[in-house]
Symmetry: C2
């Protein structure tokens, strides 16, 4: 029975996000809480909130199940826009796009600099690359497999993309960045940071955005080349897009404008049916597919 101010909504979409692993693995001996609580999009079917009519499409924190109840104050009513799917609000017009925008703002990339982006074809990395390109940088990526690297250079405007599944990544990074790396936009963690650090320029910046490799493991993955951070006098800045509300308006404007003009490439990898959620999640975490990973529930 919904309380005063609550809305009940039918879950239409689940966002499959790497950070959910923390909750799934559970902290310490506590274990995980099921169903998973993540970001969902749904259609309101019952409302006790005067601001949110039945039929509204909302983005909310919700559980991976067919129905959810939330306080109207805690949900975001999505604008109806025939130009694109509601799911852009999970990704390119939502957290992923704004994460890329905020991180690239903190990176203060200059024309002629070289940036290396890990998880190059992910929903954050793919937008970063297009922002970096606009700013006049040399844009390098790291991705898993030949096909992703092909998409990175043909679709997301990377100058070059290195396949981390092949051997000798450290040496290939050095060859691809003959002027050294000024900015490392890190979405993965030690498996890409360790081989990239030797090619960083002195005084360079590491933007620490995600640690996808580390989310898979309950045990910490160590950073081996840690001392190069001092040797090269780097600044490593970790952030969450939600900590920088002052940057959101400009980010939304840029992303919406580019999306509307068809000049911002993005991809979605969609699975179907609640029964596929676990499998789709693991596929995302292990690098299958491109862009934002979603699960669509039955209509």
């Amino acid at each position: 029975m919904p309380g005063d101010g609550d809305v009940v909504f039918k879950t239409r979409w689940l966002s499959l996000d790497p950070y959910l692993s923390f909750a799934m693995i559970g902290s310490g001996s506590g274990g995980a809480s099921w169903p998973v609580q993540g970001r969902v999009i749904g259609e309101v079917v019952q409302s006790r909130s005067p601001q949110i009519p039945v039929g509204s499409v909302v983005l909310a924190s919700g559980r991976w199940r067919e129905w959810n109840v939330a306080s109207g104050a805690d949900v975001e009513v999505l604008p109806v826009d025939p130009r694109w799917s509601d799911t852009v609000h999970f990704g390119v017009l939502g957290a992923s796009g704004l994460t890329a925008w905020v991180g690239m703002t903190l990176a203060a990339l200059q024309p002629g600099e070289t940036i290396l982006i890990s998880a190059a074809t992910g929903p954050v990395g793919s937008v970063c690359a297009q922002i970096a390109r606009e700013r006049g940088a040399r844009v390098l990526g790291i991705a898993g497999g030949e096909e992703k690297c092909r998409v990175a250079t043909t679709h997301y405007q990377y100058d070059d993309c290195l396949d981390h599944r092949l051997t000798g990544l450290k040496d290939r990074i050095a060859v691809a960045a003959p002027q050294g790396i000024d900015v490392l936009f890190e979405n993965v963690g030690a498996p890409s940071l360790d081989p990239a650090l030797p090619t960083m320029n002195s005084g360079g910046r590491v933007i620490l955005c995600g640690l996808a490799a580390h989310y898979r493991s309950a045990d910490p993955i160590a950073l081996t080349n840690f001392r190069l951070i001092l040797r090269k006098r780097l600044t490593m800045r970790a952030f969450a897009w939600t900590d920088h509300p002052d940057l959101h308006a400009a980010g939304r404007a840029w992303l919406t404008d580019r999306l509307a003009s068809g000049t911002l490439a993005y991809d979605e990898t969609v699975s179907h049916g609640l029964s596929q959620a676990a499998q789709a999640y693991v596929a995302m975490l292990t690098g299958k597919g491109l862009g934002k990973h979603l699960l669509q529930l039955a209509r």
Copy 2:
């Protein structure tokens, strides 16, 4: 035979600095170059530089041997000051003091914040603590042994100092910083950073100044708790004092003023005779003694 513009000086003092380990260990298969080239203070006995008369006391990059030759353009003539030993220009009035000043400026410590300083009684950490105290922070240190911790609190104005030789460092840090740590001033590396990271506040700053523990080892020492840098949205900034010349004048002024008024505590650990250099160096690197480590050559 000294060339035009050169000076010949009798070596009086060697500065025993942790960073020299890089050269001693040698990079890759190259091996080390002997005698060690480090910072030395000497007295000019022959000069072909019109600006530097015989009898000048100079600080220069020189080898660990009784005589050195250098270009006059590359040496710093030290001011004669009867208030203190020439050796303050290695330490509290030189690189150590300015390193502390520059690092503390980058840290932007605020009144009421908590700072944790590793290698608390070293030549950098001991000055950092006194700057932090003046800025109204709660000042915590990590040092090796009961005696150093006693000196830290009685001599260098630390509120509390934790002995890393005892077990349970991580838990003791958490107890000593009930409000969490806002700034970690890191002089040692992973052995203090790993146990301190869980107590860092979200949005906190890590000033990466030195990695004394890592210099001892030809193999990298990994940072295990690396992912906490993201989880806590920290900024880790590595620096060298020489990269910030704009901050030197203010630093020299503060240090000189405090030294002249007798309100800046510092220590020197002095060994004697070139034959003791290797032993004295290892003693410094393994945490014997307090403050700046020096070796005095025979007069």
